[in-house]
């Protein structure tokens, strides 16, 4: 039994060694395959261009894209108005709150 086992093991090891391919550093090197890198453009994508048109005498030769941004709202005057409104509202809230506290204190004092 032991002899059969050892024989089988030896046969298996032989088979493994026979099928294994040696990794030899000095063997024939694999033929390098010529890989052609895909040609990619390194240029950044251009922004959406205006529409260029055949030059006609006297007409628009490059049509701009979209609308014209010809206005920056005068924010200064608006912020001043808003600031005044906010300040006025805050003062009103403080006055009402202060009045309420005063009334409560007086009632408590009168009750005591």
């Amino acid at each position: 039994m032991r002899r059969t086992t050892l024989s089988a093991l030896a046969l298996a090891c032989t088979a493994v060694l026979a099928s294994a391919v040696p990794a030899l550093a000095d063997g024939a090197s694999p033929t390098p395959t010529t890989t052609t890198a895909p040609r990619t453009s390194t240029a950044a994508p251009a922004p959406t261009p205006a529409t260029a048109r055949p030059a006609k005498p006297g007409q628009v030769v490059a049509v701009p894209r979209g609308a014209a941004d010809t206005g920056v709202a005068p924010v200064a005057s608006h912020s001043g108005t808003d600031g005044g409104l906010i300040g006025g509202s805050a003062a009103l809230v403080l006055a009402i709150g202060g009045g309420a506290v005063l009334v409560v204190r007086r009632r408590r004092a009168a009750g005591a």
């Binding site: 006609k56 006297g58 007409q59 894209r65 979209g66 609308a67 014209a68 010809t70 206005g71 920056v72």
Partner: protein, 156 residues
């Protein structure tokens, strides 16, 4: 009406709304939109240099701001008040003074800008004045005001 030779505009006058402004030259921005004059206290109009000069056959395009942020009103603050029949005068570098008459004033959403109507070919000398208008959104405006005008006379 006889078209003029090419000569860049140096001044624009619109008596009906008190406009008398020098005219600078504008090109295209990097994103393909039209350039606009700088935001300064001394606002001025700008002629789009890829369009015909005023008086040449085709649509000559001039832009200016309606408001210039903290500097207040822009040159075209009252452009929307122009009416059909109002006069617009351009002074050209060569001394010619073409005069245009307003044919239409339109306020359009920027999201629906009528590119063909503004920049499309026409068979006579015309003028387009463009500024912003309509409701504000943030620091800008949602609409454009566009004045369409046609050449009616020329002097020098």
């Amino acid at each position: 009406m006889q078209a003029l030779e090419r000569s860049v505009p140096v001044r624009l006058q619109i008596p009906a709304i008190g406009v008398d402004t020098p005219v600078m030259q504008l090109g295209l921005a990097a994103d393909g939109t039209v350039e606009v004059p700088p935001i300064t206290a001394h606002d001025r109009a700008g002629w789009y240099r890829n369009s015909p000069t005023p008086g040449q056959t085709g649509p000559s395009v001039i832009l200016a701001h309606v408001t210039v942020g903290r500097y207040g009103d822009g040159v075209f603050r009252d452009l929307a008040r122009l009416r059909q029949g109002d006069r617009i005068t351009a002074r050209l570098e060569d001394g010619a003074v073409p005069e245009f008459t307003v044919t239409a004033v339109r306020t359009v959403a920027k999201s629906d800008f009528p590119t063909d109507a503004v920049y499309g070919d026409v068979d006579r000398p015309e003028l387009r004045l463009i500024t912003c208008g309509g409701p504000r959104k943030g620091s800008g405006y949602l609409d454009n005001v566009i004045v369409f005008a046609a050449l009616t006379s020329t002097s020098s």
